[in-house]
């Protein structure tokens, strides 16, 4: 790294978070540069939210080095938080107050003069397409609108770094796309985004770089394309056989593709050439009930790295 390289907004080395005997985050190293959109992927309990809370300076690290915007969260929490925007996993809006009041209160928390908070608040409501609801109470708003309001609120202090914990969980597809669109615009304006998600399409849409977290550690790190190349094949062939015939079929498929995975309801062939692979399947006189050739996705990477067993 040369001397004039920008300083990372987030810098972590050997970061650990423990709750009693439970190790939520188990020694992670991380650098997020200005302007990046960085994602944490992982199943529930992987340590994403604990990491986000440490970055958001509401949870002191148990061990390791952490610098946010060049400052130490252990001693400079309020100064750092003054420059962060946070979209928490659970909405923390006041449902009985109006949309605008929610923004004004938040502006007060940051010490903004009332007039500034008001003007900025209205600009932000316009940005998230809620200006016409400014004087309505929050209660009757849809989930997507509440999410957009939370995003508007997180921007009231013009943060250098925006932290989003599962920004679109629980939203319908239309609402998700509106949120993604707004986040993409923020990214284009140069706002650094750090988000957690367990939606692979969200990660592919928004993140320049991401890590897959599992059991408190980073299982993999890279751009979405990197990760697919490294941990999966270009194509995936999905084959469905009659009930109970998957295992038998898999034996006959041996040697096809880079890797075979037998699931209860289908067999997956990971290969560089899906169509070629599928014609080879037919050459071997196998007759699957249905077939699908598709591109590999982050989901394939994710399931390979974190396993298919259910995490509760």
């Amino acid at each position: 790294m040369s001397d004039d390289a920008p300083e990372p907004l987030i810098h972590a080395r050997g970061l650990v978070k423990r709750f009693g005997d439970f190790v939520a985050v188990d020694g992670i190293d991380l650098d997020v540069m200005p302007g990046e959109a960085f994602g944490f992927l992982g199943p529930n309990g992987a340590g994403k939210s604990s990491t986000m809370r440490m970055i958001g300076c509401v949870s002191p690290p148990s061990e390791g080095t952490l610098r946010i915007l060049g400052l130490d969260p252990r001693t400079q929490g309020p100064r750092i938080r003054a420059k962060l925007g946070v979209v928490p996993q659970l909405d923390t809006l006041d449902l009985e107050l109006t949309v605008r009041e929610n923004l004004l209160i938040y502006g007060r928390y940051f010490g903004l003069p009332r007039a500034v908070a008001r003007e900025r608040g209205d600009q932000l409501l316009d940005f998230v397409q809620l200006l016409d609801r400014a004087d309505d109470t929050v209660e009757p708003l849809s989930g997507g609108m509440k999410r957009r309001l939370t995003i508007a609120r997180s921007l009231i202090n013009e943060p250098q770094l925006l932290l989003l914990d599962e920004p679109t969980t629980g939203l319908d597809p239309q609402a998700r796309h509106v949120v993604w669109d707004r986040l993409f615009r923020l990214k284009q304006q140069g706002v650094t985004l750090v988000l957690t998600t367990h939606y692979m399409d969200e990660a592919e849409q928004l993140c320049d770089r991401l890590v897959v977290m599992d059991k408190g550690k980073f299982a993999a790190e890279g751009s979405p394309r990197d990760l697919i190349e490294r941990y999966s094949s270009r194509d995936v062939v999905e084959l469905r056989f009659a009930l109970g015939e998957n295992e038998v079929a898999a034996e006959k498929l041996a040697g096809l593709g880079d890797r075979i995975e037998v699931l209860p309801d289908r067999v997956l062939l990971y290969t560089a050439d899906g169509d070629g692979c599928l014609s080879e399947v037919h050459n071997r006189a196998l007759a699957p009930l249905s077939t699908l050739v598709r591109r590999s996705t982050l989901e394939d990477v994710f399931l390979r790295l974190t396993g298919r067993s259910l995490v509760d």
Partner: protein, 265 residues
Amino acid sequence: MTSASFAPVLRSYSYWLTVYRRTWRGTIVTGVLSPVMFLAAMGVGLGSLVKGGSGNAGTDGLTYLQFVAPGLLAATAMQIVSFEATYPVLGSFKWIRNYHAAAATPLTSSAILAGHLLWMATRAAMASGIYLAAIAAFGAIRTPLAVLALPVCVLVGMAFAAPITAFAGSRDRDSGFAALQRFIIVPMFLFSGVFFNVTQLPAVIRPVAYITPLWHGVRLTRDLTTGQLEPGAAWQIPLHVLYLAALVAVGVVIARRVYRDKLAN
């Protein structure tokens, strides 16, 4: 506290002010109706049956209205914060989660707590102020010293608010709050010298009355609205104040720890 560290407290406080703007009308109506009803029923109605004997056995030579009014005044501060320090505190952690929203900003957990406590003090002052005015309207105030009963009521309120906030903040559910009312607030209301001198209680349970914060509060408010000190009892006044202040201090220390554990762990 320096002015630099007080600004965040006011920011936290302003949240409660904003929320109150939605509900103030209802609280004013209750705030006026409640003293009028209690003073009329207890002071005037029931009081007509009470022959004000002298000394500790009676009403210290006061009319019953004069006797009971300062007791009800102090009890009001207790009752108002026993609500403000329970459901809104738990709700701020668990339901509305406004504490968590504030904790993501430059506000510290201590500032969030202090702002809310300051708001409870405001509510105690408002309710007690209205009550004091009602007592004056009933003609049961005998000295200008009575205005000092207002800060005393705020102190009484905080002697309950701080420990109850610590308790409520450490709860995960609201199930303890009904028990708090039933086993602590209501018995104190009945047996801490509001309606009769605690010297009327059997000797074995009298010490229990003496450790209740409400008893100390009632002693102070009664001295201040009637201007009638027990002979040789003036030295007890600073002790009552210190006792109440100590409860505030203990409550704040515990509540700070609870808030830090929940908002910054």
